[in-house]
């Protein structure tokens, strides 16, 4: 881990109120319904590293990403960028300048580009918006440069998004992110909508850009193999909380949390090792009424009474941080 933390997330909470209208609650006696999308998440990302958040749908990983870039306001907690608070009420006036150094790449290459805009306008938008360059000519030159940088041709700038394939669109997305001259890029499942052959292209491009430009990535994915390939540190999320956080090697080499183990177990074995794995029973519970104590306990083979009542905190355990009573007590791991 090199350098000081670029991004620090501390006790981040984000709830969504999906309650039925007051009247229904009054008549039907129903309570408020709060989706606890993110329920106390903390981590820090060092300059130059790729930090991955991994988990199944509904675990809150995308909400974390969106909260960091400012698409959601946090319900509680702090997000510091280069030591400056950038979210919530305590955010200062200089946040806009800091935010500009933070860009995002989205999942759906079809939805993330405005279909009515030419590619040059899409890529040029961050430049124009932040007045990074003085005149139209220099913007055009910069856009052309960026297109080449991501493996497209400058003449592609005249085209509209629908004229490109999914992989090419994701390159355009990347070019747009680069146009803001970022140092930190949040990548929300950037390859999960792509075919594997194209996924490889994009992953390679991202790695190459990171090297060349010294970028820091927050990488969101549900695909453990991709995460293993690209990230240096990984946090596994389950129902709005981090259950394990470790270096990639540590996590994949010696998963400690039962959920992490279960996830790793689901990775298909392309080598055809012939092992017959018993899939975990049950399904992810609703984040509206998360189970008490450790949210994973209903599906956990190691759960005991404490797991059902007491919520485990993230604690260091052999080079990793794990939120598990069993691990802490030494029953496991």
């Amino acid at each position: 881990m090199a350098g000081d933390p670029l991004v620090e997330v501390d006790g981040l909470v984000r709830y969504f109120d999906v309650s039925p209208p007051l009247l229904n609650r009054a008549v039907e006696g129903a309570g408020r319904r709060i989706v606890r999308a993110v329920d106390g998440v903390g981590f820090s990302i060092a300059r130059g590293e790729t930090f991955a958040l991994v988990g199944e749908s509904g675990c809150g990983k995308s909400t974390v990403a969106r909260t960091i870039v400012g698409l959601h306001a946090p319900t509680a907690g702090a997000i510091r960028y280069r030591g400056t608070e950038i979210a919530g009420r305590s955010a200062g006036a200089d946040v806009a300048a800091l935010r500009q150094r933070m860009q995002m790449i989205f999942q759906d290459p079809y939805a993330s580009l405005n279909p009515r805009w030419r590619v040059r306008d899409i890529v040029g938008e961050p430049i124009r918006h932040n007045s990074l360059l003085p005149d139209r000519a220099s913007v055009a030159a910069r856009v052309a440069e960026l297109l080449v940088r991501v493996g497209l041709s400058p003449v592609d700038g005249e085209k509209y998004p629908h004229e490109f394939s999914g992989g090419q669109r994701q390159r355009i997305s990347i070019a747009r992110a680069l146009a803001g001259e970022p140092e930190f890029v949040v990548c929300d499942e950037p390859t999960s909508a792509l075919d594997v052959s194209v996924q490889a292209q994009i992953l390679n491009l991202m790695k190459e850009l990171q090297r060349a430009l010294g970028l820091t990535y927050l990488f969101i994915s549900h695909d453990l193999a991709v995460v293993y390939h690209i990230s240096s540190r990984v946090a596994v999320m389950y129902l709005g909380r981090i259950c394990e956080l470790a270096d990639t090697e540590t996590l994949f080499g010696r998963p400690r949390h039962p959920y992490t183990r279960m996830l790793l177990d689901t990775i298909p074995d392309l080598e055809m090792g012939g092992r017959d794995r018993e899939p975990v029973a049950g399904e992810v519970p609703s984040p509206i009424n998360p189970p008490s104590g450790c949210a994973f306990h209903p599906r956990c083979p190691y759960a005991d009474a404490r797991c059902r009542t007491e919520r485990p905190e993230l604690k260091p355990a052999g080079g990793a941080s794990v939120a598990c009573h069993a691990v802490e007590e030494g029953r496991l791991g």
């Binding site: 090419q168 292209q201 549900h222 029973a281």
Partner: protein, 327 residues
């Protein structure tokens, strides 16, 4: 070995458009033995779903079967009259689609939908049909089936809904199940459950499965044999172990190398440059040749047919003498 249950020969699916006729599936041949699971894998737009739809006669107009034959237990089922193919669907061929969220009619309880299907195909009374529906729901692993049978689809979770869909596909004991991306919309932990369920049920009933997916992992877990599709054609078909461990076709090889794997530490992944051609610009000869690192002259000129190479069949000039003509 008994005669194959499903034989598809030289299947060709076309879409007439104003820019000319698009050939979405081109000369596809394969067969599935009784009790066998054939995986059909390929990237989006490869034509794998259309192949599945063509087999059960559910191509959406203006798509149509332009050539080729489809035989079920030796009997031709392509081009059958509307009513005849309808009787086969659900009864002899079951289908499972990708999105369990939208596959069920939201206005009917799951029980009603199962009973309706049973009554359509089997000569049983309403009570018997409901009993059968209950059994099926139990079999696909729906807890408290007796209560859940009267619930509406929106009251089920995604994984449970896909189980209901499987129950629906199986309710008339079909000989063949066409499963089109049955796990794509599901979370990884649920995926594994569904795959297992599908595998178990088909094995118990001796049903054959055509499993269509883009996920090599699913193929590796489930299929006996695999057909790799590219641009509407089969590039390679053979036993799963052979194809995955020792792919012959350069496309299959590239694909396997491009998949990141836990434990495989590489700085950059092998990548196939470019993208799959759109249907109106499929190149002549081997459709893969512009992206192929091993392409030879013949590749751009002549289209290779599938030819055996060991247990596998592969459509590639690398494993064939180049065609005689040439410059």
């Amino acid at each position: 070995m008994s005669a194959p249950l499903l034989e598809v020969e030289d299947l060709r699916v076309e879409f007439p458009t104003r820019r000319g006729t698009l050939v979405a599936v081109d000369g596809v041949s394969f067969s599935i033995a009784r009790g066998e699971v054939l995986g059909m894998v390929g990237e989006s737009g490869a034509g794998k779903s259309l192949t599945g739809n063509a087999v059960i006669g559910l191509l959406e107009p203006p798509g149509r079967i332009a050539a080729g034959t489809v035989r079920l237990a030796g009997e031709r089922i392509d081009g059958l009259p509307h009513e005849a193919i309808r009787r086969i669907r659900g009864r002899r061929i079951g289908a499972i689609f990708q999105d369990p969220l939208t596959s069920l009619n939201p206005l009917y309880t799951v029980g009603e939908q199962i009973v309706e299907t049973v009554l359509t195909h089997l000569d049983v009374g309403a009570r018997a049909a409901r009993r059968r529906a209950l059994e099926l729901l139990g079999e696909v692993g729906i807890p408290a089936a007796a209560e859940r049978i009267d619930h509406y689809p929106h009251q089920f979770s995604g994984g449970m809904r896909q189980r209901v869909v499987i129950a629906l596909a199986l309710c008339a004991e079909p000989e063949l199940i066409i499963a089109d991306e049955p796990t794509t919309a599901l979370d990884v932990s649920i995926q594994a459950q569904i795959i297992r369920l599908l595998r178990r049920l088909s094995a118990e009933r001796g049903a054959s499965v055509l499993l269509i997916t883009h996920d090599m992992g699913v193929i590796a877990e489930t299929a006996d044999r695999v057909a790799v599709m590219y641009a509407g054609r089969i590039a390679e078909i053979g036993p799963v172990r052979d194809v995955l461990k020792a792919p012959l076709h350069p496309y299959t090889r590239g694909l396997m190398d491009a998949i990141p794997a836990v434990g495989r530490d590489v700085d950059s992944l092998a990548q196939i440059d470019g993208a799959m051609p759109r249907l109106h610009e499929i190149p002549a000869g081997c459709a893969f040749h512009p992206r192929c690192p091993s392409a030879v002259a013949a590749c751009g000129r002549d289209r290779p047919d599938l030819a055996p190479s060991g247990a596998t069949e592969v459509a590639c000039w690398l494993y064939r003498p180049e065609p005689a003509h040439g410059r």
